[in-house]
């Protein structure tokens, strides 16, 4: 209908493929570079080696950053999931006044530029003496991931028929029992997806962390600081590991959601 001549079609395909290449080339380049034996960043690598992985895993500072990142991501993603999940339920099922206002506020960290959140938290935490504290770091990561959790779980709860819960209550089930035995089994794929998204979100967070983490080094913060100073090939190994982690996590999400037939509503 709009295809027009074969020439137009070919031009469109060329532009589309260029767009996809533009998006993915950076990722495709970094992976082989990480196996390079050379210190200079030349592509393709002159020969292959694992030296940058050895440097990474042999460096106690990188390992410590890895541990910090993992712990912060674990605690903050679970906290975001619990608080955000409860809130999403209240927002979808509740009738209290000011729901739109509350939801808008919960989406705030997504709308307000992260640099402003970082500065506000820096000033606020400095004021109460929690700048550079573990509590401050975890709280910041938690609230940054709340919007995603609410978005994913909000869609899932809306799609779940409220009458099923009402039946459980009318049969005498307690609220907690209904959540455990009726809601969670049905929402499990979305809960898993929300948790993974929150985990990745926290694991990759760099701006707020750079401002408020003080002596705590996370992987992205260390990467960022090293990248500003010099180009160090160890970063390619870290980057490749992060890409692998993301691909695995997203594949797990896609698999879980498609098994439950919920892939499409979550994607678009």
């Amino acid at each position: 209908m709009m295809d027009g001549s074969p020439w137009t079609r070919r031009a469109l395909a060329a532009m589309g493929i260029f767009g996809l290449a533009f998006l993915t080339v950076p990722l495709v380049i970094v992976i082989p570079m990480s196996f390079s034996s050379a210190k200079a960043l030349t592509f393709p690598p002159p020969s292959l080696s694992l030296r940058w992985y050895e440097t990474f895993f042999g460096d106690p500072r990188w390992m410590e950053a890895m541990a910090t990142s993992t712990i912060v991501a674990l605690i903050s993603s679970v906290a975001a999931l619990l608080l955000g999940g409860l809130a999403a339920y209240g927002l979808r099922r509740g009738t209290f006044a000011g729901r739109d206002w509350a939801e808008g506020n919960f989406m705030g960290p997504l709308i307000v530029p992260t640099i402003i959140v970082a500065i506000a938290l820096y000033l606020g935490l400095a004021k109460i003496g929690l700048l550079g504290s573990f509590v401050g770091l975890v709280a910041a990561h938690t609230l940054l991931n709340v919007p995603l959790v609410i978005m994913v779980l909000g869609v899932a709860i809306r799609a779940f028929d409220a009458r099923i819960e009402q039946v459980a209550w009318s049969l005498g089930a307690s609220w907690w029992y209904t959540v455990r035995k009726v809601m969670l089994p049905n929402l499990a794929p979305s809960v898993f997806a929300a948790w993974i998204f929150a985990f990745i979100g926290s694991f990759d967070e760099v701006i707020v962390t750079s401002f408020i983490a003080g002596k705590y080094e996370t992987v992205p913060k260390k990467m960022f600081n090293e990248l500003i100073l010099e180009v160090n090939p160890t970063i390619t190994a870290v980057a490749t590991l992060l890409i692998a982690l993301t691909v695995l996590a997203l594949a797990a999400v896609a698999l879980t959601l498609s098994r439950a037939g919920k892939l499409k509503p979550t994607l678009v």
Binding site: M2, D3, M15, F96
Partner: protein, 276 residues
């Protein structure tokens, strides 16, 4: 509405609300207040006056606007054909294309920015290609200038434009286009008179979203600009971490926040229209 209904479900929201008020709203309000405060003097507009008197701030602001605008336009030029092309793909190819758009979206922004150092460096892929084809003799410097920052930002933000645009294009009914074709409209007319206007709200919404995100960009200009392409965020970093002038940083943040919220309100209106 009775009083029980008015609070029903509030208990579920309350724990998160407490966290948000303490750790998000309060710090932002505190920051806004700091910009209007001077020790021993109370309320003042001095910090805002300083902003408009110092040419460095205005220059950074102009820089930021220009880079954000160019990166947004580049996004539209690359993103619209990409989304349109994806719409016409078969379902299997389309799934692969979606996956290729979604994956970079989730990969750390640091990784994606870092990769451009490898691709755009003096001995990088692009320069080697340009020299091999004889287009240039000496390497073109892409890094540590505005060009590199713009390319990096366009790359990071492209999924934010492509995904909603693609979603809007998918919703356009093929029969509408067939009807136009059967009435004798040439492909060009169908595209410009029917298809394009239907994608316009989503395009406008996506464009505004990308523009807001550009304004607050921090990581990419810091890495690909090498300190030579200061944008608002990097200026804020300097005012907080290097020469502590918190009040000035608060004043700039306040302006950036207001600009962002105004554009976001426009985005929300368009987005509602696009998904209606």
């Amino acid at each position: 509405m009775n009083s029980i209904k008015r609070f029903e479900g509030f208990g579920f929201v309350a724990p998160l609300l407490v966290l948000m008020v303490v750790a998000f709203n309060a710090p932002i309000v505190y920051m806004l207040g700091l910009a209007f405060w001077e020790k021993g003097q109370g309320f003042t507009l001095e910090h805002y006056e300083d902003l408009f008197e110092a040419p460095v701030y205005l220059r950074v602001l102009g820089n930021t606007m220009r880079i954000a605008l160019i990166a947004t336009i580049a996004n539209v030029i690359i993103g619209y054909p990409l989304a349109h092309w994806m719409r016409g793909l078969g379902s299997r190819a389309r799934m692969i294309a979606i996956a290729l758009v979604v994956l970079p979206f989730w990969v750390s922004i640091l990784v994606r920015t870092y990769a451009w150092i490898v691709v755009l460096g003096n001995g990088g892929l692009v320069n080697r290609f340009l020299q091999w084809t004889g287009l240039t003799d000496a390497p073109v410097s892409f890094l540590y200038n505005e060009l590199g920052v713009t390319i990096g930002m366009a790359n990071v933000l492209l999924p934010f434009l492509v995904l909603p645009l693609f979603a809007a294009m998918i919703r356009i009914d093929d029969r509408l286009l067939q009807a136009a074709a059967s009435l004798g409209a040439p492909p060009r007319t169908i595209f410009w008179k029917i298809y394009f206007p239907l994608t316009l709200p989503a395009l406008a919404a996506g464009t505004l979203l990308v523009f807001i995100l550009c304004l607050g960009f921090y990581v990419t200009p810091a890495i690909l600009g090498g300190g030579r392409v200061p944008m608002i965020s990097n200026l804020l970093d300097t005012l907080i971490n290097q020469i502590p002038r918190w009040e000035q940083a608060s004043a700039i943040s306040t302006i950036l926040l207001i600009v962002t919220l105004v554009i976001f309100a426009a985005y929300r209106r368009l987005d509602r229209k696009a998904s209606a």
